[in-house]
């Protein structure tokens, strides 16, 4: 069983990075890997409420983030520094997440076996 950390660093809908990262997270979790997620920079925008990707014909994978708890993905860290840069508030984020300092995230990277950045 591997501790796999997936980092979302790019915003949704402009490219497939977010969708690929979520697919990998759910797939790995279903194969009994211990999956944790980190959201930073515009990757945090994946978790913004009130999105409607179908407006631009983009696939609505955002709803699928709701399935994470079913897959036992419990560690979801959101970078506070990036939140500030984007002037986002905690209530803008639709999931149960842990808002974390950069040091806490750096520490997490040390504890896991693999880190994949999308």
């Amino acid at each position: 069983m591997k501790k796999l950390c997936i980092v979302f660093s790019q915003g949704p809908h402009g490219n497939a990075k977010g969708r690929e990262a979520l697919d990998l997270a759910l797939l790995s979790a279903s194969f009994e890997q211990e999956v944790s997620l980190v959201f930073t920079d515009e990757g945090i925008l994946n978790l913004l409420k009130h999105q409607s990707p179908e407006t631009v014909g983009a696939k609505d994978y955002i709803a699928t983030f709701g399935a994470l708890p079913l897959y036992d993905v419990e560690t979801i860290l959101v970078c506070e520094a990036a939140m500030e840069e984007l002037e986002l508030a905690e209530h803008d984020i639709k999931l149960e997440v842990q808002f974390s300092s950069s040091q806490a995230i750096a520490e997490h990277f040390n504890h896991v076996d693999e880190v994949l950045v999308f």
Partner: protein, 93 residues
Amino acid sequence: MILHHIQVSAAQSAALKLCLRYINSTDSILLSSNAVNCLLNKEWQSRLSGYNILVLEDDVIARGLQSRLSAFKMISYADFVALTLTHNKVISW
């Protein structure tokens, strides 16, 4: 100890910026491909000072930057492989 690997130009991607936000003092940074170009820039040079910076020699030679980047530690592909073994993990940003 983590080896942070950056392969894209700092002018086109936030990879290097993100790496610096989460890096520990004992970690190393390997710049390869277009990421080597940032070392030409005074600002990036100062931001990276104090970290163990390694540069993939072939990518520097390919770009004709040997003399401009002579201040930085050059490594070969073989060294790169060895580095991946002496670090706990590699993060490709």
